[in-house]
Amino acid sequence: MYPQSAVELRNVTKRYNELVAVNNLNLSIGKGEIFGLLGPNGSGKSTTLKMLVGLVQPDSGDVNVLGLDVLKQPVEVKRLVGYVPESANIYEFLTGIEYLDFIADVYEVPPEEKKQRITEYLKALQLEGREGDMINSYSDGMKKKISLISAFVHKPKLLLLDEPLNALDPRSARIVKDFLHSLKAQGVTTIMSTHVLEIAEAICDRIGIMYQGSILALGNMDELRRTASLPNSGLEDIFLKLTGTEDLRAVVEELTR
């Protein structure tokens, strides 16, 4: 279905002292695919995304993005990638427009295109009127919008989105979801991590469920249902079963005692 790989991870391992964040991970994601990374907290989703953009170096294994080795050609890879981190740690002393201007310059977007794109995105995500304020006065949702625009502004070939819809209002979340679909049609690959299973189920072509640094299950919804032997279930049941946390009654009972 996806003849060319946008992302290839081969035998990738990343350790933080004694903690194994990613354990011998093998993953191939095709061009134009929207791929969802699910998993409990600390399962290695964010570390995997960070390795793809060169924010974290793997201890072993190969990380290949759009035919380029992330370790050997980091700048070339970054030029093709748009990244939204989980927490929006952005330059708060800049205004929204200054931040986007900075990002567009760093990605060498031509001035006219820069102007057009930034104006359009600000309008679409309803940031018009606040773009001249310093970011430190923005709400979390507004910071997330600025982060998203900064990932889109240079028209990347690969989008790495870590919890992209967190803190967004329903309208903006819908716009982002639809926008990701339209980018898919243009051949842009999206890898997103999320805890909102409905979103993953609705927009992802394939889903990888990570647990303790490894991929536990991989495929589209039908394939995941087969793997979990839950033919008519939703993603939540599949997720809970595969991660061995399906029987939560004891936990709830313990909490309510």
Binding site: N17, V81, E131
Partner: protein, 563 residues
């Protein structure tokens, strides 16, 4: 009052200001040796100070002093106790300056942290914890140092009880100062918020100028007090007794009367002091209740409307879009981030001190003349710009803070990063050189030859120190955004000082013979312009070597991408 809450808050506040590293760590790490360095350093300095003071006292009172001079001196124990009675007021003034400067250097983001406001903590607990947090920085280090000194000294001179009393009352003075700082902090937050709101787009500049003015005023007071220390102490001793109605010296009077054994007066000033400190504490609580949850208004820098990207000048100087973007971003950081504004202070102070000295404002009112003025001219030309280059070089990587991921995740090469950061350092330092040089010309009227050499030589040192200090900044950045962001790890800051000192000396070395001959009033034929040319070559060589090193270090930093 839940004392445990106070303790927990205090612990969090203090830890947030210490050396917390995120490098290669999934767990909290703290270097305990460095975390408590102000305290153990103060103890060591205090003990040494006490021993030296005792040695000097023995020297003055028992040996080798003309009898006439000795006869005019008060008895040793009386002189010592007189000095002790001044210490609480000194601690109060110094603590007030330290804590206010600490407040202004807090990162804006962290200063408005509101976690404690939704926790079940009363305003009384919050205010007390905040006061104690102010206290537990430099003020307590000062009290520890002075207490160690007075105790050691008094052990040799049989006045240990007086020293213990002094130590206890100094703690009270430090608490008083911290309470005043807490009151001023709340008022400042409320006032600055109101000023920003009314300033509109000018708020950024109001903040920059206001913060600089605040720093300069307090540093001038500090320099004034410390430079004329002996006369200040003498004046204070007599002033304290005359100005008994000023609440800030009641603690000193309490100590004075207690030592003299005047029980009634001691009880009176003890009661007054307790009421005054309690009053300050309750005032701080009331102000916190009223304004503690105040949110400063958003600063609007540009008017809303159609976005117009600006074509910058930097491109015409050969900088790529990436490099120009980083330079512009750093320029904005250094005019908007309150914690970075403090970087300007050292150069400004280095302009003020020589001016004060040369006009006799400090140094006992004695104005120097002749050759000393020439030295001041050299100082005012060289030091401010060179310190600026060193400071900027050391902090310009670490100032990225937790947002450094943006640099890591962007298509920025090591060369881009070094070129933009190095240009920024040289640009800012050259601006400082032009300002300080102009002030030097206005006040000291150096010859055209000295002026030219002053500008050229300083520029060469700036080029060199910028490159050298930047490598230190790459080696030891501190990205942790504590309440007072350090931006450079302490050990690397010290290394930077030494390496920059050596590099600076290497550049000015060709001019050293001229300075020595001039000082010794020996006339020797020496081509000064040849010396300047050799300086330029040395500067370019060192700068080029460190530039290459910096590119390597930048690539390494970007590759490892560690926050």
């Amino acid at each position: 009052m839940n004392w445990k809450n106070v303790l927990y808050l205090l612990r969090v506040d203090r830890k947030s200001g210490r050396l917390i590293r995120g490098i290669k760590a999934t767990r909290y790490k703290e270097n305990t040796f460095l975390a408590y360095w102000p305290y153990w350093t103060a103890t060591i300095v205090g003990i040494l100070g006490g021993l030296i003071a005792n040695y000097l006292a023995v020297l003055v009172y028992q040996q080798g002093v003309p009898s006439g001079v000795q006869g005019s001196l008060p008895p040793l124990d009386q002189a010592s106790v007189n000095f002790f009675t001044v210490l609480p007021t000194l601690v109060l003034v110094a603590s007030l300056i330290f804590t206010l400067l600490q407040q202004i250097q807090l990162a804006g983001l962290k200063a408005s942290s509101q976690v404690m406001y939704w926790l079940p903590i009363t305003w009384q607990e919050h205010t007390l914890a905040s006061i104690l947090a102010n206290l537990s920085g430099w003020p307590i280090a000062l009290v520890i140092g002075l207490s160690a000194g007075t105790l050691i000294y008094s052990a040799f001179n049989g006045i240990i009880i007086q020293a213990l009393l002094t130590a206890a009352i100094m703690c009270g003075a430090a608490f008083m100062a911290s309470s005043i700082t807490e009151i001023l902090r709340i008022i400042q937050v409320r006032l600055t918020g109101a000023i920003y709101k009314s300033s509109g787009r000018g708020a950024v500049w109001v903040r920059l100028v206001g913060t600089l003015a605040f720093f300069i005023i307090f540093y001038i007071i500090y320099i004034y007090l410390t430079s004329g220390f002996s006369s200040f102490v003498t004046n204070l001793t007599s002033a304290q007794n005359a100005a008994w109605y000023v609440p800030f010296i009641w603690l000193a009077l309490l100590l004075s009367y207690t030592i003299k054994g005047l029980v009634l007066q001691a009880v009176l000033f003890f009661t007054l002091s307790v009421f005054f400190i309690a009053g300050l504490y309750y005032l701080a609580i009331e102000l916190n209740k009223r304004f503690g949850l105040y949110e400063p208004p958003a600063i609007t820098v540009q008017k809303s409307g159609v976005y117009m990207p600006k074509v910058g000048l930097l491109g015409k100087f050969g900088f790529s879009n990436v490099e120009a973007a980083i330079i512009k971003k750093d320029l904005r950081a250094f005019t908007r981030r309150r914690e970075l504004i403090s970087v300007y202070i050292a150069p400004i102070i280095m302009i003020i001190i020589p001016l004060f000295n040369s006009f006799g404002v400090i140094n006992g009112g004695i104005a120097p003349s002749g050759q000393t003025i020439l030295a001041f001219t050299a100082i005012i030309f060289v030091l401010p710009a060179c310190f600026m280059a060193m400071l900027l070089g050391e902090v310009l990587i670490g100032e990225e803070g937790q947002s450094v991921w943006r640099i890591y995740a962007s298509p920025i090469s090591g060369k881009n990063l070094v070129r933009s950061k190095y240009f920024f350092i040289v640009l800012f330092s050259t601006i400082i050189l032009l300002i300080s040089g102009t002030i030097g010309i206005i006040f000291y009227h150096p010859s055209i030859e000295y002026t030219t050499i002053g500008f050229l030589e300083t520029f060469f040192v700036v080029l060199t120190l910028g490159s050298v200090a930047l490598s230190v900044g790459f080696k030891g950045p501190d990205f942790s955004q504590t309440r007072r962001a350090r931006m450079i790890r302490q050990e690397w800051s010290l290394i930077g000082l030494v390496v920059c000192g050596l590099a600076g000396l290497a550049v000015v070395a060709p001019l050293a013979p001229i300075a020595i001959f001039s000082f010794l009033s020996i006339t020797v034929s020496y081509n000064i312009y040849a010396a300047v040319a050799i300086s330029a070559v040395i500067s370019i060589l060192i700068s080029a070597i460190f530039y290459r090193i910096n590119v390597g270090l930048a690539n390494d930093l970007l590759k490892k991408a560690q926050i």
